[in-house]
């Protein structure tokens, strides 16, 4: 296995691990921000110095600069999809708890729904 293949596989697992274990924590937020700034910097550099990208790719043993970009983008996308999926799950749970409180308060007569008469019981 080539060093680049190995590095990319490791990066995939690191991204997975971060997505699964560091959510809604301070470190995760910091990690995302640093990654974002690095990404912006990389994009700007790659646009300004297209040959540099190819050189880096070659140094890693990857054929073309475009392939390097593809791999990095895939890893980023994987991380983002998992984070967003988990984040939505968290939000869903929070909204459920909120709605359950409302439902139970209406049931116990502490709230009245505008379109629904209170239970006779």
């Amino acid at each position: 296995m080539h060093i680049a293949q190995f590095a990319i596989l490791v990066a995939i697992f690191v991204a997975l691990w971060f997505a699964l274990h560091h959510r809604s924590r301070t470190e995760a937020r910091a990690f995302r921000r640093v990654a974002f700034i690095l990404l912006m910097g990389t994009i700007v550099t790659a646009v300004l110095f297209p040959d540099l990208l190819t050189d880096v790719a070659h140094a890693l043993g990857i054929g073309r600069g475009a392939d390097l970009v593809l791999y990095l983008t895939s890893i980023g996308l994987l991380y983002v999809s998992i984070s967003v999926y988990l984040k939505f799950g968290d939000m869903d749970r929070r909204i459920t708890l909120l709605a359950r409180q409302i439902a139970l308060m209406e049931d116990s007569g502490k709230l009245t729904h505008p379109d629904r008469p209170a239970d006779a019981e």
């Binding site: 749970r93 459920t96 709605a99 439902a103 139970l104 209406e106 049931d107 729904h113 239970d119």
Partner: protein, 231 residues
């Protein structure tokens, strides 16, 4: 005491929790049947657009309304909490709103709990031959049970049956976080965690055209598996 009153006096210590989503065509019958035997019927209307909850209330159920739709797991948890708010309740039975469960089975489960040697009674479709299942559904359910047994360490023959009964203590322990159908596995998991004593009783599921149409697509098992693994 009239016959009506005698019936209403039955099982005052038991709450039937019925999660309901858009069952307007059948819910009245289900509630009427339940109210013949059980005084406390708690319906959770999970944001039905068809007024199922109001129909259930007219037919004598105590109805809790979710402001929006969340899924059966969320509705069950709400129903359990509503039932626990009533100090008279010692036993809770979960019962599907589409009419596929038998009230005799529910009564048998509560009677089993009353013997005091178990905390949870699960209904199983696979302990006798009464329930007719398609081959595909049988395979999916069997696989699901195998998976549930694997991750929970319990030994059940049917883990994904909506008909189950448990004591107040178990109800207080259970905290369902999966809003969708993954709650069936989650509930087994939590009962395993709580080291509760359980037993399975054979139940008869009546698959009608209505319940089949309302029931889950077998494809949903893939979604459930995904929900359980990744969260």
């Amino acid at each position: 005491m009239s016959v009506e009153q005698m019936r209403a006096a039955l099982h005052p210590d038991t709450a039937i929790v019925v999660p309901v989503y858009s069952e307007a065509t059948v819910i009245a019958g289900v509630i009427d049947d339940l109210k013949q035997v059980f005084k406390n019927v708690y319906v959770v209307d999970d944001g039905s657009p068809d007024g199922s909850g109001l129909i259930a209330r007219e037919h004598g159920a105590r109805v809790v309304f979710h402001p929006i739709n969340f899924g059966q797991g969320a509705a069950l948890q709400t129903g359990i909490e509503a039932a626990l708010a009533n100090p008279d309740i010692d036993y809770i039975v979960t019962f599907d709103g589409d009419g596929q469960h038998s009230i005799d089975d529910a009564v048998a489960m509560v009677e089993r709990l009353r013997q005091g040697d178990v905390d949870v009674v699960f209904g199983s479709r696979f302990l006798d031959e009464r329930t007719e299942l398609t081959t595909a559904k049988r395979i999916v359910l069997r696989t699901a049970v195998a998976y549930t047994n694997l991750i929970t360490g319990l030994r059940l023959t049917d883990a994904h049956n909506g008909l189950r009964a448990f004591t107040r203590e178990v109800a207080q322990f259970i905290d369902l976080e999966h809003n969708g159908m993954a709650h069936a596995t989650e509930i087994v998991h939590q009962i395993g965690d709580g080291k509760f004593r359980f037993v399975e009783l054979p139940v008869h599921i009546l698959y009608t055209d209505y319940s089949r149409a309302k029931g889950q697509s077998l494809w949903n098992s893939i979604n459930i598996l995904f929900d359980l693994i990744l969260r």
